[in-house]
């Protein structure tokens, strides 16, 4: 499978600690790749290096098979980009702004643009200075998608979007990859990308600490289970401790709570023979896994330690 983005030991140092260190990133063509990390981890630095705004201190990056330094113009011809800190010409209306941006690519067909505008209900008639953050962000998305980019590079794309528009945006991402295009998006929250990303790369303090398939993460993630016993019964936590995948067993009143990784069947089997009145299983909290990476817990340290966080 061809790759959309490859970085080889990509390093960008600043005077201070900021930057990225020996980043080895591989984004396959046709996937949605979520680039995750807390603010200041190096996400934007990486993206700005791919676009040749920044030059690598060492290492290199290839975008769509082209060198990020030498072939930047051709890369930018084929990439749609949404900056993390979107700044537009305040005095223009949305329409004037989009027209002008289109003219930088030599103008052309406005049908794709119009479809996107309708989809996001973007306001094209008011001057941009009168638009809210969310409405500006819509224009940012429209401009990134309005030409047939082979690769979309989106820095925190959902910032300021309301839930309905986020949904719309997720649909758009699906259609985009279905059409064979690639999406590379950054976010500081897994919640935002877990429904759209095929894979996620997690960056912390400039280093890529993990690359995971979202599906696998979900399987490994720990569910919280609460078992409620009948009022007359004294809850017995020992029945659950030691079952496969069960961790952190605790008792609170008539409630026994624990985490379960993997199948819940062993738990159900045990519970069936006890005087249980209710059992509540809450969905896997992927965010919790990511927080362990973010915090730099022992278990999550070092790239390649794929199962560290879940164990």
């Amino acid at each position: 499978m061809p790759t959309a983005i490859v970085t080889e030991r990509l390093t960008k140092s600043y005077g201070r600690a900021r930057g990225v260190v020996e980043l080895e990133l591989t984004v396959a063509a046709g996937e949605v790749y979520g680039f995750l990390g807390p603010n200041g981890a190096g996400k934007t630095t990486t993206i700005r290096t791919l676009l040749d705004f920044l030059h690598p201190t060492s290492g290199r990056a290839e975008v769509l098979g082209l060198d990020s330094r030498r072939d930047s113009l051709e890369i930018r011809r084929r990439v749609g980009y949404l900056p993390g800190d979107l700044v537009l010409y305040e005095r223009l209306t949305g329409r004037e702004h989009l027209d002008w941006l289109a003219s930088l690519r030599g103008g052309g067909d406005a049908t794709a643009r119009d479809a996107l505008v309708e989809r996001f209900q973007a306001d094209l008639d008011r001057p941009i200075r009168q638009l809210s953050k969310g409405n500006r962000q819509k224009l940012g998305l429209v401009q990134a998608f309005m030409h047939d980019a082979d690769l979309l590079v989106l820095d925190e794309p959902t910032a300021g979007l309301d839930p309905l528009m986020q949904e719309e945006f997720h649909d758009l991402l699906r259609e985009t990859v279905d059409a064979g295009r690639t999406v590379f998006l950054s976010s500081h929250s897994l919640d935002e990308v877990q429904h759209v990303a095929d894979r996620v790369g997690i960056i912390r303090e400039g280093r890529l600490v993990a690359v995971e398939r979202v599906e696998e993460l979900r399987e490994r993630a720990s569910r919280r289970v609460d078992v409620r016993f009948a009022p007359a019964v004294t809850p017995d936590p020992s029945a659950f401790t030691g079952l496969p995948g069960v961790t952190d067993v605790s008792v609170r009143g008539d409630l026994v709570s624990f985490g379960v990784t993997g199948s819940i069947r062993p738990v159900l089997r045990v519970a069936a023979d006890l005087d249980v009145v209710d059992l509540l299983s809450r969905p896997a909290d992927l965010e919790e896994i990511f927080l362990t990476y973010y915090r730099g817990d022992e278990a999550a340290d070092g790239p390649g330690d794929e199962h560290g966080a879940a164990s």
Binding site: T44, T45, L51, L73, R76, Y81, P83, D85, Y89
Partner: protein, 267 residues
């Protein structure tokens, strides 16, 4: 050939540019309006003749050969040696600083340069836009002097006036070039504007004081101000002065392009 970047910037500048034109036309108009008074009141000339030499130099007056009633001397003194050329310098410096460094600080360059726009084209189109602004302001000055001059009875050499005005446009463009270069290196509008305007004022002082301080005389060859304004209306600006200014502008713009292409964008 389409120049979307230059066109966008110019469209955005319509209103402020209009005010620059209004201000300059008003200033030049007022100066022209006092010409009949100066001509008919020899006392004013005697007063001016008694100015300290330094002051006369600052206003481009030649203490030895000085007749304010004469059109060329009058225009040289009041329009083509101090305030008006400095207005071109200040406009040029401010615009040269804004069109690249100012845009970068504003943050909009991140979006614009993510499009297939060569950095070279970006700088060249913006430089062109600044020159167009200066030309428009120059044209306003030229027309004001031609029309106003006719009204107050100036005996005008229109060809010489055109060249002198063109020289002011070039002067402004040179300092726009200085601001572009500094802006392309630092990415900071304030620094670019300040350095360019500062160098502009220094070159004005060198140019005007060289006439009375002989040790300064060799340095006037380093002053764009001198090339653009020395005897602009009395002797006329020689072609080689214009050539020096054009060459300097070309070098500055080329340097700005080269420096900006090698630079990383502030995020």
């Amino acid at each position: 050939m389409s120049l979307p970047i230059a066109a966008r910037t110019l469209a955005d500048r319509r209103r402020p540019l209009l005010w620059w034109v209004v201000g300059l036309v008003a200033y030049a108009g007022m100066i022209l309006a006092v010409y009949p008074t100066i001509k008919s009141e020899p006392g004013i000339q005697d007063l001016a003749r008694n100015y300290p030499k330094g002051l006369m130099a600052l206003f481009g007056m030649d203490p030895e050969n000085f007749d304010l009633a004469e059109t060329a001397t009058f225009l040289n003194t009041y329009l083509f040696s101090a305030i008006v050329p400095l207005i071109f310098v200040i406009l040029g410096a401010s615009r040269g600083a804004t069109v690249v460094a100012g845009q970068e600080e504003h943050g909009v360059l991140d979006l614009v340069l993510s499009y297939p726009v060569r950095r070279r084209d970006y700088v060249l189109q913006q430089a062109l836009e600044v020159v167009v602004e200066l030309v428009l302001v120059g044209l306003a000055l030229f027309l004001t002097v031609v029309v106003g001059g006719a009204l107050v009875g100036l005996e005008l050499d229109v060809g010489r006036l055109a060249v002198a005005t063109g020289a002011l446009v070039l002067l402004g463009a040179v300092f726009a070039g200085v601001a572009l270069v500094v802006g392309c290196v630092t990415g900071t509008k304030g620094v670019a504007d300040g350095v360019a305007a500062g160098v502009g004022v220094a070159s004005y002082l060198v140019s005007s004081l060289a006439g009375i301080a002989s040790w300064l005389e060799p340095f006037r060859y380093l002053s764009p101000f001198w090339y653009a304004t020395d005897g602009a209306m009395t002797k006329g600006v020689p072609a080689w002065h214009l050539a020096v200014l054009v060459g300097l502008l070309a070098v500055l713009v080329a340097a700005a392009v080269g420096l900006f292409e090698r630079r990383q964008l502030a995020g």
